[in-house]
């Protein structure tokens, strides 16, 4: 029974109910950090950390949170974890922290985390909520990584900062700028929806 539930959580968050392309949540950071793969990975790690632990905390406290102010309580829990992420990044990866700038802080208002806390952690046991946090974090991450690879490859001819395409390649600088982000995500959503038969 338990194993079945866990499996459903994962398949739901990675596929049918993927936070990015099915629910269109957390788009801000999806677009903002995907111009370089390295930043994307750091961002994803931060998000998985925050979602899973805030889900766990909310779930542990769910009996004691008064329903009227639950949004505020959830926001504060999330913000505390984001501060941890921010401090750790500043200490160990100062360059990337500089480049990500405000987007680390904006994990707080990333609707995925709030959404999972509201929809899942408030009504499920801690263990399962923790896994749900990891699963939706992963669902978010792999979409971001795909977009980041496309953008970095076409925009700078490199992956992970290493030149992959040779001299013959002309960089599409539009890809690392704002419009490229919108177009790549739109095409990604198109492809995914096209692959799914029904609806």
């Amino acid at each position: 029974m338990e194993a079945f539930k866990v499996k459903r959580v994962f398949s739901d968050d990675l596929g049918a109910n993927n936070p990015v392309f099915a629910q269109i949540l957390g788009i801000c950071s999806t677009l903002a950090v995907t111009n370089v793969l390295k930043n994307t990975i750091v961002m994803c790690a931060g998000l998985i950390f925050t979602t899973s632990l805030s889900n766990l905390t909310v779930s542990l406290m769910r009996e004691y949170i008064p329903p009227r102010i639950r949004m505020m309580v959830e926001t504060l829990i999330i913000a505390s974890y984001v501060i941890i992420v921010d401090i750790v990044l500043k200490a160990y990866l100062p360059d990337i922290s500089q480049q990500l700038g405000p987007y680390v802080g904006l994990i707080i208002t990333n609707c995925i985390i709030m959404g999972r806390a509201e929809a899942f952690a408030l009504s499920n046991p801690p263990g399962l909520s923790f896994l749900d946090g990891i699963a939706s974090g992963l669902g978010y991450s792999y979409v971001l990584i795909i977009i980041a690879v496309v953008r970095e490859l076409m925009g700078s001819g490199s992956i992970w900062g290493i030149k992959v395409l040779g001299e013959w390649w002309t960089n599409w600088s539009i890809m690392v700028m704002a419009p490229g982000a919108f177009f790549v995500l739109a095409i990604f959503i198109w492809v995914v929806k096209g692959m799914r038969p029904e609806e």
Partner: protein, 197 residues
């Protein structure tokens, strides 16, 4: 503090060249969800202008007069989000008491604003860019106007597109993103107008 940049440059840059939505991608969630009709988009746009201007100023004061002297700047995320949430709640209560008409046109959008990342984003940007008090006010105002401009334009385009035949997979969010991309391209045309970072 960057006193070199005049406040009017900050103001126009926030609207056009550094539009918070089209170049910093902030506030996308509500941008995609609430841009189906011009009327609602206008209401939300106005609410964002108002809240963003005031919270920028409040957060600036809180940051430089409370957090910096106490050496607690790492707490800024929590402090900013609390100030924004409390302010929005307060305004909602005031509007509800004072004017019914204003409440139905503006008030119903206020709860949506607490979770709008553009508001928090603007406050974080003005701290990172070390704006002065006056610049912060104009940055908040300009960003709000820029955001409202983008969502109203978007809603106008989407209203016109209601009868267009869009490829099935693109209908809804996909098409909205492509429109946003084209709008971002258009806004890039402004980039020669002003130079700031």
């Amino acid at each position: 503090m960057s006193e070199g940049i005049a406040f009017y440059v900050v103001f126009f840059a926030a609207i056009f060249t550094n539009n918070i939505l089209l170049t910093n991608y902030l506030g996308m969630c509500s941008f995609l969800a609430v841009s189906k009709e011009v009327k609602t988009a206008t209401g939300l746009g106005m609410a964002v202008i108002f809240v963003m201007t005031i919270t920028s100023v409040l957060n600036w004061l809180a940051y430089y007069y409370i957090l910096v002297p106490l050496n607690l700047t790492f707490l800024r995320f929590i402090v900013f989000i609390i100030i924004i949430a409390a302010f929005v709640q307060l305004i909602e209560m005031i509007i509800e008491r004072v004017s019914d008409r204003l409440y139905t046109s503006l008030g119903i959008f206020l709860p949506l604003i607490t979770v709008n990342c553009a508001i928090l984003g603007a406050s974080l940007f003005l701290v990172i860019r070390k704006y002065t008090f006056v610049s912060s006010f104009f940055y908040g105002l300009g960003s709000g106007i820029g955001w409202a401009l983008a969502i109203i334009a978007m809603a106008g385009i989407r209203e016109k597109m209601k009868k267009s035949r869009v490829p099935k997979g693109l209908a809804g969010a996909g098409m909205a993103l492509i429109i946003a991309g084209i709008m971002a391209l258009a806004f890039m045309g402004f980039s020669g107008m002003l130079k700031i970072t």
